[in-house]
Amino acid sequence: MPPRERVLVVEDNPDLRAYAERLLGGSYAVETAEDGAEALEIARRNPPDLVLTDVVMPRLDGFGLLRELRRDERTRAVPVLMLSARAEESSRVEGLESGADDYIVKPFSAKELVARVASNLRLSRARKEMRDALERRVEERTAQLASALREIESFAYTVAHDLRAPVRAMTGFSQALLEDFGDRLGEEGRDYARRILSAGRRMDGMISDLLDYSRLSREPIELVEADLEGVVLDVLRDLEGVVAERRGVVEVEKPLPRARVHAPTLRRALENLVANALKFTAEGVEPRVRIRAEGRRLWVEDNGIGIAKEHQERIFGVFERLHRPEAYPGTGIGLAIVRKAMERMGGRAGVESEPGRGSRFYLELPP
């Protein structure tokens, strides 16, 4: 048989207290208290299943008790029934609005008291069952997600080993073919071998990028206040070679603010944007890049070929390219990395651009 539900009766009038105890003692385990303060002590020690309380009491009255019960995590959900001699509507409304679950007017009928206690306990039980069911569902879902994440991680790991090996063979042996037997292949044969080599390299690049991208989703990210100028300088140092090769000019509008970021992730995003700005220029045009901050946004502006409105969302997808690889090299993952990087930090990335008029990419930092 399940243990009896526990009811705490709080009443300063000893006769009324005893009466209530008698009425309820048959079906419930009844504890009593003389005032709100004593009741609070008892409730905190061992939260009852229901509290039946008078309003007017010394030390701590019914409303005070209710307030304290609701404030404490352990007793917040316990149903509280108020007993009061004040029958006016205003008192009943005040009682219910203050958070009592029910309001019983003295003198009360025995049957009514028992019925209200039973009904409130029933409601409370139902609420608890729903809460428990919900918590179980959340736990299940979390376990499912954790398991799915582990599957994805092991998939990325498998990709590294299993896909890269045949790709290595493709590039390695087509290179060997060209080097050691090129003179015997003829022009067409050499062309075919070169195409195999090129496709292999592209594939290896895509695998590398995918692993990079998936690592970005898995890494733990912690935001720390950093000097954006330092991050920008790091990026420009890394891209020194590319800037020189493309004969580009990169201008940084100072001062740049400090912000709460994950520096390595922001560097990845910025590096991709600046590398793109240096890459996507029209034939014969030397890239001019400007980096500046405005509000929460870090802007990377270029004098490149620009992007038509209808493509501006698409380009942030994985492996999305607008141009032939011969025109502009790359796997098309740069902007996907930028977007994912900003997402992980609680910010976002976007672009303003028109074809032929350059592009202005922004990294919006979290508030």
């Binding site: 080993h161 890269r164 390695g172 290179q175 060997a176 292999g200």
Partner: protein, 143 residues
């Protein structure tokens, strides 16, 4: 003082992928060190080769192998009572650049960690460098 070791160097490669084996052989050949490389396809074969008093100046070890893994080999090697085996320089040469594999390799006593290059030119450079560093310049204690 001569910088060269007194006998021709030997590099032991433990690699089970036949294509990677062939590419490695080609790289050593192109580096003019075709006789230096000795290739085995499994940890069991490696144990056998090392047991027959083969004294390589370094081992190139793949991690993902059929049967026992590269980690198993490292564990066995570093706990060997034979000082020659226990101190053998091991260079991991693997597809994976995962942080976990990296730290585990060093924790188990690897001396270096290389990611297999996709480009043959880089593999050639790697072969040249490994032979020069571990085969020619490096000294190992007498067995």
């Amino acid at each position: 003082m001569t910088r060269r070791a007194s006998r021709p160097p030997c590099i032991l490669s433990i690699e089970d992928d036949p294509n990677d084996q062939e590419l490695l052989r080609r790289a050593f050949r192109k580096a003019g060190q075709g006789d230096v490389l000795r290739v085995v396809s499994s940890v069991a074969e490696a144990r056998e080769a090392l047991g027959v008093r083969l004294s390589p100046c370094a081992a190139l070890l793949d991690l993902k192998l059929r049967g026992e893994s590269g980690f198993d080999f490292l564990g066995w090697l570093r706990s060997s009572p034979d000082a020659r085996l226990c101190r053998l320089p091991v260079l991991v040469l693997t597809s994976s650049a995962e942080e976990g594999d990296l730290s585990r390799s060093y924790a188990l006593g690897a001396n270096g960690f290389f990611v297999k290059p996709g480009d043959f030119g880089e593999l050639l450079e790697l072969a040249k460098t490994v032979v020069e560093h571990w085969g020619i310049f490096n000294r190992l204690p007498a067995a």
